[in-house]
Amino acid sequence: MKDILLLMLFPPLAGAFLNGVFGRRYPKALVSAIACGASGLAALFALIGAWNYTRFWSPAALPLRIGTWIRAGAFRADFALYYDRLTLVMTCIVTVVAFLIHLYSRGYMEHEEGYYRFFSYMNLFLFMMLVLVTAGNYPLMFVGWEGVGLCSYLLIGFYFPKKSASDAGKKAFIVTRIGDAGFTVGVALMFWTFGTVSFHSLFPKVALMPAGWDSNALTAICLLLFLGAVGKSAQLPLYVWLPDAMEGPTPVSALIHAATMVTAGVYMVARSNVLYAHAPIALETVAIVGCITAFFAATIAICQNDLKRLLAYSTISQLGYMFLGCGAGLFATGIFHLMTHAFFKSLLFLAAGSVMHAMSGELDMRKMGGLRHKMPVTYWTFFAATLAICGIPGFSGFFSKDEILAAAYNGPLGGPWLYWLGTITAGLTAFYMFRALFMTFHGPSRVPEDLAHHVHESGSKMTGPLIVLAILSVIGGYVSIPSALGGSERFDGYLAPVFFSSEHFLRTTAAHAPSGGWSGLTLMGFSLAFALGGVFAAYWLYLKSPELPARIAERFAAPYRLLVNKYYVDQFYNWLIVRPIRVCSESFLWKRVDAGAIDGGMVEGSGAVTVALGGILRRIYSGNLRSYATWVLLGAVMWIGYILVMR
């Protein structure tokens, strides 16, 4: 059982290696067969492992030490994996979605340069992601954390001759690096405080702390770790890299920037639930940041005309929901939404990729419209995913989003305003998603003449995964039917061994008692009403009277401009951080310090001295045997002489 989960790590690594080193010479069919085979095997192992574990093992965590990695003084980090139900859920989500996206990429990337490079990076990404979710201590988790960051950088910049793509790659790398710095400091502080960084010795240690135990250090650790999550999962204020990351190929956006990597932050918070339960201030911060991000990103998404960027803002918003669920103290809700979101958001991206394929790379929704007849499969799958993300009853998003909103309302750290902001966001989500659906697939065609005849449905290599993901997006929610509807919340029950003690601890110690009042059904009713309101507004504005949006934009010019320009955050960062650094680096550090002092004085100067000295010294190597013997003798005489003189 342990071995099969360990085995899961190898196919992606081997695939990345084979394609990366030899792929250039392989035919495309072999490259994709290796990559898809590797991810498929990983998925198979993950599923078998999960089934096996659930069926035959006690739900307690299963640490698996493979060997020593770092040992320096008291610090110790092993190659250790850690299996519990959370790990298993994550590995299944990651490998299954990755497998489907690999299959899709066979078609999508067919005519691209660097086919082998793409698949090699994708497999490497999958490996790193699996390291991240199976790691048994924070340093090893950080290896995966950085590894997926590297793959993300490589894949965003996949079309690196294009400047915007390579810039976006760099931006993603640098912005997430800010968060990573926090993460590293957090881990260091953790070792300093608790003397360990491994899950199976750290968590029990923290869990045994009494309720009134006050630890600023733990709060600081949790906040620093969360800073890492903010960077990786694109939350306020470090979300700016994710929209730009859409420069990468669309399967990458679907896999890395929607379904898996960006959810690593959520996973990390859920994994550290014991720590956060004992640091309620940090946990509340998680909830607040998540909730505000969800709302903030949704407002930007409303005015986006670029289909992929709209989906990117939507991802940021949905990630905010997941943090809201975790932060409210009900971690399982966050993970549940992570799962359903992985299905429907990767589907949305892949469908957008299919549209993009048909439109020769065009992503501006103002140049689309009426595509539903020409691309029926893409349309219906996109439609299913839209219903799911909007939380229409019966679709997966409905179950998970309602759980989160319920958690925001009556979770241990929930509160009314978190609930209401979340519910308003649900309405906004429905509005912008249906706006995208209507603008792309409905109404009269606005496709330019030269493209119109080219528009076609994608091949079965691409539509196949779309259909599978659509099915998952529909039924994915039924694993956890809310108790308000007579269900038993089986998903939450499944994860209970991981989260129960933390959630229980929070419930008993939370500063404010859960706000009673409305029942689950009432809450559901509210959010449904908001969602339907959003759908109706989108219908009214974009199908019924399409001239209205322009008039509204004219009427409310100032707020409209603010939204279209995404609150000017990018410009603000540029002005506040990037410009000063550049000016300082260019005029002072580069021209004066580096070129002047270091290069001119120290490097050139010391280099010249070194070379000259070498020129003199090498003359002793004359090649003459007698002179060599003399040197040896002289040396010996001097040495013995020294001893005799110094005794």
Binding site: T68, T610, L613, Y621, W631, V632, W639, I640, R647
Partner: protein, 480 residues
């Protein structure tokens, strides 16, 4: 008696297989000479197994003249690694250069036997015998390309200067005997401990005489002078062997003698070690900058590497000694690999060894260029390679022993070394070809040898812990 034999088992296996190789050689048809190589490799592997066997039952043998302990097990394993990789890397070379294979492998095995005796011997006379056995074998090996003038010159120079230096070693042993009436290190340790032990000054003189003899082998300044000529002239696979094996063996003896019974005298010699470390690093690195020939460049680099090891040696602490042991292994991996690859790239008659011959190699043979780059990066001590950690441990031991100035000079020296190591990488990757070096496919056996080197470099560079524990055991110099 049986116990004695088991404790000397690796040496016995080496000796027997060396003799067998010579005996078999006339009966092996000329086209099948590689069989001898595989047989010799088998001998090395068997000796490795024997070495593992002795590790299970440590103790003295043959009246206390030989010791099987963690120290000897570690160093014998190191010699076997070097011998094995060299043999693997030479199989194709000997065929290409049309050199007789039997004697070559036999001499490698016998030299390894000599080195093993140096590491395992507790009696200085036995150590001397080991030294002579390994030296004589390598003198012959250096001149193995008999029809090449440079090879002959290398052999002769190595032989004459080597004999000269060995005389000092013998003189040192004589001093030890004169001081204490014994040449056995264990007995010596007991007598030094007793009241009215030997005169401190003469102990120091004895030590220094020994250091002259062995310092010659490790190319420590001012006895490093022969190195470039010999390394440039000798066949490259031989250099792969003799730049590492005898050096490690000599360091093993130096460790035992300096920090064992005569440590009293080594305090007096401390500043000489300090000076020698600095001179060795500077004389190696500064001269390397000027080289245009790859073999000669690597020869100077080998001198500089010995200097880094001497830094740990000067530190003298247990940490310093285990850092020396650790670094010797990393050095073995990278230097052997580098010389073997250079031998292959040099082509028939070793005609292509100028740096300019490597222009644009990366474009034509990306694999070879990448392997060579890894080896050079490790030699220059770039992180994630073993070379970095090895240097790190050496320098940290020096800092812990408060040798701050020495450490600073050592670090500056590694900076200088980056210049010439990277120059080769730059030539391979950034200059226009066509490469003049041989671009023929790597033979499988050489591939395997290089794979061992590269894998070892990354393994030790990323997961040093387990191995470091092993190296730490060698700081117990004498059996209890």
């Amino acid at each position: 008696m049986t116990g004695d034999i088991i404790r000397l088992f690796p040496e016995i296996v080496l000796g027997v297989s060396g003799i067998l190789v010579i005996l078999f050689a006339p009966f092996v048809p000329p086209r099948r000479q590689s069989l001898l190589g595989w047989f010799a490799l088998f001998g090395v592997v068997a000796a490795g197994a024997a070495d593992a066997l002795t590790a299970r039952d440590p103790g003295l043998a043959f009246g206390g003249s030989v010791s099987a302990d963690s120290f000897s097990v570690y160093f014998i394993a190191l010699f076997l690694l070097v011998a094995g990789v060299t043999i693997l890397g030479s199989i194709h070379y000997l065929e290409r250069e049309n050199l007789p294979a039997g004697e070559f492998y036999a001499l490698i095995l016998l030299a390894t036997l000599g080195m093993a005796l140096m590491a395992a011997g507790l009696d200085l006379v036995l150590v001397f015998l080991g030294l002579e056995l390994s030296s004589l074998s390598t003198y012959i090996l250096a001149g193995y390309r008999r029809h090449d003038k440079r090879s002959n010159e290398a052999s002769l120079k190595y032989f004459l200067l080597g004999s000269f230096a060995t005389a000092f070693f013998l003189y040192g042993i004589a001093f030890v005997y004169g001081l204490s009436g014994t040449t056995n290190l264990m007995t010596l340790a007991r007598r030094v401990g007793a009241a009215g032990g030997p005169n401190r000054t003469f102990a120091a003189v004895a030590l220094l005489l020994i250091f002259v003899g062995l310092g010659f082998k490790v190319s420590a300044a001012p006895f490093q002078i022969w190195t470039p000529d010999v390394y440039q002239g000798a066949p490259a696979p031989v250099v792969a062997f003799l730049s590492v094996g005898p050096k490690a063996a000599a360091f093993a003896v130096l460790l035992r003698v300096f920090f064992g019974p005569l440590s009293e005298g080594s305090h007096m010699a401390f500043w000489l070690l300090w000076l020698s470390a600095i001179l060795t690093m500077c004389l190696g690195n500064l001269a390397a900058i000027w080289q245009s020939n790859v073999k000669r460049l690597l020869a100077y680099s080998a001198i500089a590497q010995a200097g880094y090891i001497l830094v740990g040696f000067a530190a003298g602490s247990a940490d310093g000694r285990s850092a020396v042991s650790f670094y010797l292994v990393t050095y073995a991996l990278m230097n052997t690999g580098a010389f073997l690859l250079v031998a292959q790239l040099a082509g028939g008659g070793e005609g292509r060894t100028e740096i300019d011959d490597y222009k644009g190699l990366a474009r034509e043979c990306p694999g070879k260029a990448a392997v060579l780059s890894v080896l050079l990066l490790s030699l220059s001590g770039i992180p994630t390679t073993a070379g970095f950690l090895g240097k790190f441990y050496l320098f940290r031991a020096a800092v812990d022993s408060h040798l701050i100035a020495l450490t600073i000079i050592a670090v500056l020296n590694s900076v200088v070394s980056v210049y010439y190591y990277f120059r080769l990488i730059v030539v391979m990757y950034m200059e226009e070809g066509p490469a003049a070096v041989s671009t023929a496919r790597l033979p499988g056996s050489l591939w395997a040898a290089l794979a061992v080197s590269v894998a070892g470099i990354f393994y030790l560079g990323i997961f040093p812990s387990a191995f470091l524990e092993f190296a730490r055991l060698t700081s117990n110099l004498l059996p209890h």
